[in-house]
């Protein structure tokens, strides 16, 4: 099912929780709403579900305005962070409750429960109560309950946040695969950028109720349109520091202070040439240590992160984070040379916080 959201706004008294959001979701697409907690993701989702009435704007399902449809007429399934299973019913009753309400025959309920339970790997738990299941099992039941009526739109509200890290990773893959196999249009709300980046076809980044960007994960990662996106996306987070742009002998440099400067390549030509202070961003993995030439620096801190060591050091006036191979056995106080891969650098206007490279 195709979903269109037009100027969607929600106010709670004085506060604007969702501020005029526009986006379209294609049939069968998996879209993530990504943003820090309190930014209005759940509110948006609940408006799509029909639980909240929009203050303004429209929600269209396959081109049809559904603003005034109650949840039961929207043909949706939803999975909650808290699982929201019915504790007084068995797993079987939980799974088949949507069918019971639709007055489906008992035979069909049994068949469908078995089908969904097998799909979710919970076939042996049908007689239990939710209270007798682990968190992961409960979330599978909740997912099964959302799927059993074959909805045309699936909504997820941080479904994995209450699970432990290992389970989260495996469930991530399962949900993604299930969604692709069944081809159900899905909206997945999360504050975890890794979930969004690994699962979604497109990501809507939301901050304070305002849509910041709506694009595919690669674009979001490589071409952040605002400073917020640059800060929010990527792990470890992007280095951001104030630099001064200066042209000299036909080349453009970013001065980091204390004589340290970096040449900006042709490919990163700024939209409008700003002479003066801008924000420069570069990801830790785009700074390479141990080359022959480059900017010399002293290591201030070494943080082992398993596969890499995260190093903190000072270049000019800026604190720089970068990754090195633990084999190099770098220690605090060692001096090394850094090469910045300026083909991957980002620039932002300090005032508007908009990218100087991308529209």
């Amino acid at each position: 099912m195709k979903v269109d959201i037009v100027n969607l706004t929600k106010k709670f008294g004085g506060i604007i929780a969702v501020d005029s959001i526009n986006l379209d979701i294609k049939d069968g697409e998996f879209v993530a709403f990504l943003g820090p907690s309190g930014c209005g993701k759940t509110t948006t989702l609940l408006m799509i579900a029909g639980i909240y009435k929009p203050t303004d704007g429209d929600i269209l399902f396959d081109g049809k305005r559904v603003n005034n449809f109650p949840p039961k007429d929207r043909d949706i399934g939803m999975v909650f962070q808290s699982y929201a299973l019915y504790p007084h019913m068995s797993v079987f009753q939980n799974l088949t409750y949507p069918l019971l309400i639709k007055k489906r025959p008992r035979e069909e309920m049994k068949k469908e429960a078995q089908r969904v339970a097998d799909m979710m790997g919970i076939g042996h738990l049908l007689k239990r109560r939710p209270g007798q299941l682990s968190g992961g099992q409960q979330q599978r039941v909740a997912l099964g309950r959302a799927l059993i009526k074959k909805p045309r739109l699936l909504l997820f509200d941080e479904p994995l946040s209450n699970l432990d890290a290992r389970l989260r990773i495996s469930m991530r893959g399962e949900i993604k695969k299930l969604q692709k196999d069944l081809g159900i249009t899905s909206i997945y709300v999360t504050h975890d950028q890794i979930e969004a980046l690994t699962m979604a076809d497109r990501i809507a980044v939301i901050k304070d109720g305002v849509l910041q960007a709506y694009t595919d994960p690669e674009d979001l990662h490589d071409r952040p349109k605002t400073l917020f996106i640059a800060e929010f996306i990527g792990n470890p987070p992007m280095n951001l520091f104030d630099v001064e742009i200066k042209s000299e002998a036909g080349r453009v440099y970013a001065n980091l202070g204390n004589g340290a400067r970096l040449a900006i390549p042709e490919s990163r030509k700024l939209k409008k040439l700003v002479e003066g202070k801008v924000k420069m961003g570069i990801r830790p993995q785009d700074i390479h240590a141990g080359s022959e030439d480059g900017i010399s620096t002293e290591i201030a801190l070494v943080e082992p992160m398993g596969r890499d060591d995260l190093i903190v050091s000072k270049v000019g006036n800026a604190e720089v984070h970068f990754l090195v191979d633990p084999i190099m056995k770098l220690r605090m106080g060692d001096r090394i040379k850094l090469r910045f891969d300026m083909e991957k650098s980002q620039f932002f206007d300090i005032k508007t916080e908009l990218s100087l490279l991308w529209d």
């Binding site: 609940l46 579900a49 029909g50 639980i51 109650p70 949840p71 039961k72 929207r74 949706i76 399934g77 939803m78 909650f80 962070q81 808290s82 929201a84 299973l85 019915y86 504790p87 007084h88 409750y97 949507p98 309400i101 639709k102 109560r129 939710p130 209270g131 909740a142 309950r145 009526k149």
Partner: protein, 294 residues
Amino acid sequence: MRFKIFFSRFVPYLLLIVVTLPIIIGYVWILISTFSTRTYGLLPVDKAGRPGGWTLSNWSFLSKPEIWMVTSNTFILASGLTIGVVVVSMMAGYALSRIKFPGRKAFLSLTLILHAFPTVTLLIAIYFVLRWISVIPVLGRGLPIIGGFGYNTLGGVILVSLALQLPLGIWLMKGFFDNVSWDMERAALIDGCSRFRTWREVMVPQIRPGIAALSIFSFIQGWGSFIIPYSYMVNANRATIATYLNNLLSETAPTNYSMVAAVGLFQLLPVLVFYIFTQKYLLSIFAGGVKGAA
């Protein structure tokens, strides 16, 4: 070391025993005196003051049809009150917990103030209301079993008791509903329930301990109520066990305290039995949790 453990276990019990002893002695005293002509302390004595004097005559009231009518009245009053309080409180509590409407806050504070109002101050006003209800055809005094809802009917007494009990019930039910997760309700709505069905099949089952507690509380309240049946039933001695008891105290001279004790015990017995079996639920009023709902 052992002594210490012994001590830490023993002392609380000792304290509890000391504190509850007077109450227990009171009950034992009542029990003994219902089977005695007179008592001297805890000791049953006969008319001359010699030990002995066991008798069943205090329980002779059980053979009068009056007591059974009064008991059935009391039962109808307690049951009617319970059903009314629980049904209305469950619905009102849900609405106040979950639905936003103008005047919600004001209504909540108002019910709390009403609850704080001493019943006695309302007696005269309520009397006029009941007289007014009496003139309504059928509803006033033309209904079977409860008689109607007007003055001098059992239904009228139930109605008044209900109104006075509702603030507590509504607040209690609101509190229990407040503890049920919103997500569960939303899940039910998305699964296809109407609002009413969500309430009935998903929300109400979560607050069963609260419903049980409120039922028991209301039943006991109705069973022992005195001032309202006494004020609004003309034949007070024929209204409920409590008024019957009161009548016994004031109209026989000299008062036969042993018989009063017997009637009192008769009234107390169902409550005691009830209490023993349901104290688990009653405690949940004070714990206020939904944990045990599953």
